[in-house]
């Protein structure tokens, strides 16, 4: 089976997983939930007739399967998440778009940052195996692997927000938000302000996250550098740096790409906490709030988006792997 077969296979799997996730998402919120959705939207003091009318209005009078399920599928697949279970009863979709953008901004830059810091360090350590540099990088990598991301962030907040506040009268870093209030004028100013707001969450995510990447890359590099084909390359007269990048790193690129997929759950997890800690208005912070207030449509919508995000990321890395490694055959991955 060639590339195309592999791609089609991966896409088919992604679609299947998406369907399973949709079913799970429905089950978790509509079947397993110990709370009746009507508790949240209908005042218990209403007349029975009013209650019934409201139920009918929300479509809750129809059977769960298939009517409500089909409706649910139709809605989610068209990015129609319904309304919030709160006072405002506002539509979820517009806010979701805004928050999703914020989350993707955070996740994307943090992931890229972690890759840009972790992988070069890993290559450096691997190429100077046994040296002080190597030992330092291993040590730092192991340390940041053990330290919880939120602890790094707590320390960051403790120093730059709380302590700074008590010493200088105001915290150094912004308390929350993507931009300050009132929002600055002009594109450049806005970008600057967004960067200023994003720098704390992103820096802490990178600090707590680069270690495992550096270690993983380092071990793969050490492994690759002992391969016979590296000796061949050296013997052929390939220069040191080219041996490192064009030969050794090139050969570990596919598994490194897989690692992106494996790292995504961790990054998503990290982002939930990061968003609530730094007041970053993304979907993670929203999710926590929604759970605490039993705002289930919001939680359901966020969970769905997380799953789509992860399925998408997995798919992309699978396809990337196929491009990077000609040896790929279906069902045979590292």
């Amino acid at each position: 089976m060639g590339f195309r077969g592999y791609f089609l296979n991966r896409i088919a799997i992604a679609v299947a997983v998406l369907f399973i996730v949709l079913v799970l998402n429905f089950l978790i919120f509509r079947v397993f939930s110990p709370y009746d959705p009507t508790d949240m939207i209908i005042d218990p003091d209403f007349e029975q007739a009013t209650k019934d009318r409201l139920r009918a209005e929300w479509g809750l009078d129809r059977p769960l399967f298939p009517d409500q399920f089909v409706l649910y599928l139709k809605n989610l697949l068209t990015w129609n998440y319904g309304r919030q279970f709160d006072q405002s009863k506002s539509l979820i979709a517009p806010q979701m778009a805004w928050r999703l953008r914020n989350t993707l901004l955070l996740l994307g830059t943090a992931t890229i940052g972690v890759i840009l810091v972790g992988i070069p360090l890993g290559i450096l350590a691997g190429s100077r195996r046994g040296s002080k540099t190597d030992i330092t990088i291993i040590g730092a990598g192991l340390f940041t692997w053990g330290v919880p991301t939120f602890f790094v962030q707590l320390i960051w907040l403790f120093v730059f927000s709380a302590t700074w506040n008590s010493v200088f009268g105001a915290p150094l870093i912004p308390r929350s938000g993507v931009v300050g209030l009132p929002p600055p004028e002009g594109l450049l100013e806005t970008l600057k302000d967004v960067a200023w707001h994003a720098i704390s969450p992103i820096c802490t995510l990178i600090i707590a996250g680069f270690g495992s990447w550096a270690l993983y890359t380092r071990n793969m590099m050490v492994d690759a550098l002992t391969e016979d084909y590296i000796q061949t390359a050296r013997a052929k007269g390939v220069k040191g740096r080219d041996v490192l990048f064009r030969h050794a790193f090139r050969s570990i690129l596919p598994p490194v790409a897989t690692m992106v997929a494996l790292a995504i759950p961790g990054i998503v997890t990290g982002a939930i906490i990061t968003e609530s800690l730094f007041g970053w208005p993304g979907i993670g912070a929203w999710y926590i709030n929604a759970l605490m207030n039993r705002n289930h449509p919001v939680a359901q919508a966020v969970l769905y988006n997380y799953a789509v995000l992860m399925i998408g990321a997995n798919l992309v890395t699978d396809l990337l792997y196929g491009f990077l490694d000609p040896r790929i055959r279906v069902g045979q991955r590292r």
């Binding site: 399973i20 053990g146 919880p148 320390i155 050490v222 759950p265 998503v268 966020v302 799953a307």
Partner: protein
């Protein structure tokens, strides 16, 4: 057969010996083992290391110190030298009679535990007063931010009116504080110069107790067990204990008979002042004045249990599924690996969060859930190893010799897979610990167990940051970090040993 088994055992013994030989040269691995042993010792000797048990916040247990009291040892720094520790003064310890106008009509009994005063009057409008010196103590600290006075007394009497005044005097300043015991139903605000009288109920023994306390110079609470009313008013402790020096408590009781024959008996059996220190213990206190050290130390057990149980469970799942998938191949393999694909696409933490928001889980359910969502990576490694093992001659020959699949799996495959996945299994421990910590940190953990994640959650939500209570923020975080590091170190060492190319050059 027996011989064979014995040989096999010696092979294992030798393998383990070789392994240990390798491991003992790996400094990082040894450091990991060292840290882990330290934690295990702490877990074993927890009650000795922390004599106090951690208290839960669900009910209102006695507190040990003021809110966010600093660790006691900060007093070695000059700026914190004066902070008061927790201590209590028992008022009835050493009672002496100073002055009595009614020696003939009053009887007075006191010992260390209780004070008993009886007064008779033979005529109307007869007056008398007794002044007692209760106790002297020296106060050598800055004014306390939190203290509590407790008095418990019985009264019986008839046709008489009495007043009880509690004075606090000091050699620097006279009569700085008096305190009145008052009718619960009429308990209102108090000022320094108002004296309140009360009438004892008729021939009825009533036990009343009275608490007065001060927290952060804001809250002055009187609390009666019957109706639990609380009143607050500003009562700066600076007024009371502003100076260092020796202080004296005096008790003055004044009687005033309303009829020609009247009696009154007052029995005080508890009278004490508790000062809730602004420094406390090894690691200070939390928002409600509970010992942080106890929470930290008892957290070791929980984290070890969570990490090891979840890792063992998920390893069992991962190895079983991996071996079954790899060994059976075909459709079973397909189904299991697709299942793994699905699980890898699920956002685990969000799902754990929603599940624990439905059912407030106890910690064992959390462990179970972490294991259920945590075996996929391992099963992939195991499967690929099994696939390569399947081709190895000795397994093929075992199969040809008619060994059953179960026999081959348990006797040949699993023992050969284990060394390869050992590192992954060890590394599952910090994964589980961090997941549980994340849950607790977001406030979705088991509320009844003292976990480090919960401490961090409280430090964040209960003003620990604003109070700069570093002792409530940093130790639990470091404790998690080092416990995880121990396993990360060991896992790294195992990786180096099992994978010879990573082995350190010597």
């Amino acid at each position: 057969m027996a011989l064979f088994r014995k040989e096999k055992r010696t092979i294992y013994v030798r393998k383990i010996k070789n392994f240990w030989e390798e491991f003992s040269h790996n400094r990082i691995g040894l450091a990991g083992i060292g840290i882990l042993i330290f934690y295990v010792m702490v877990a074993v000797f927890t009650p000795y290391i922390s004599p106090m048990r951690p208290t839960s916040q669900e009910y209102n247990p006695p507190r040990s110190a003021a809110m966010y009291a600093m660790p006691e040892w900060v007093r070695i720094f000059p700026q914190f030298q004066d902070l008061p520790p927790s201590f209590e003064v028992r008022l009835l310890e050493n009672v002496t009679l100073v002055n009595s106008t009614v020696t003939d009509r009053a009887t007075l009994q006191f010992d260390k535990e209780a004070l008993n005063i009886t007064f008779h009057a033979d005529a109307e409008e007869e007056e008398g007063s007794i002044l007692l010196h209760l106790t002297a103590f020296s106060y050598v600290y800055a004014p306390p931010s939190d203290f509590k006075l407790t008095t418990v007394y019985y009264e019986t009497g008839n046709q008489i009116r009495y007043e009880i005044d509690l004075f606090l005097t000091t050699d620097q300043q006279n009569d700085i504080w008096d305190e009145w015991l008052e009718d619960p139903t009429r308990a209102v605000l108090y000022t320094n110069d108002r004296k309140v009288t009360r009438y004892p109920s008729v021939d009825k023994k009533i036990r009343r107790s009275l608490y007065a306390g001060l927290m952060n110079e804001q809250l002055f609470a009187w609390q009666y067990p019957n109706d639990a009313v609380q009143y607050a008013f500003l009562h700066p402790s600076e007024m009371l204990l502003s100076k260092k020096g020796s202080y004296d408590f005096y008790l003055e009781i004044k009687f005033n008979s309303l009829a020609s024959t009247s009696t009154c008996n007052i029995h005080i059996d508890t009278a004490e002042v508790k000062f809730f220190g602004d420094v406390w213990g090894l690691l200070g206190s939390d928002r409600v004045g509970h010992d942080v050290w106890a929470q930290l130390i008892y957290g070791v057990r929980i984290s070890l249990i969570v990490g090891s149980l979840a890792a063992v469970l998920s390893s069992v799942l991962g190895i079983s599924f991996g071996v079954i998938a790899g060994y059976s191949g075909g459709r079973t393999d397909q189904i299991i690996m697709r299942g793994v694909d699905v699980l890898l696409c699920l956002p685990v933490l969000p799902i754990l969060l929603i599940l624990s928001s439905y059912w407030s889980f106890n910690v064992y359910y959390v462990i179970l859930l972490i294991a259920i969502f945590g075996w996929q990576g391992l099963s992939r490694i195991v499967r690929s190893k099994v696939l390569s093992l399947k081709e190895v001659p000795f397994i093929e020959s075992a199969r040809a010799a008619g060994a059953t699949s179960g026999y081959i799996m348990t006797r040949h495959i699993i023992p050969n897979v284990l060394p390869v996945v050992m590192a992954a299994m060890v590394l599952a421990v910090p994964g589980a610990i961090l997941t549980e910590a994340a849950l607790s940190f977001l406030g979705f953990g088991d509320p009844s167990v003292p976990t480090w994640g919960r401490m961090l959650y409280r430090s964040r939500t209960q003003g620990g940051f604003e109070s700069l209570a570093w002792w409530y923020v940093i130790p639990p975080g470091l404790a998690i970090t080092f416990l995880c590091l121990a396993f990360v170190f060991i896992g790294h060492a195992l990786d180096e040993i099992v994978n010879p190319r990573l082995r350190r050059r010597r």
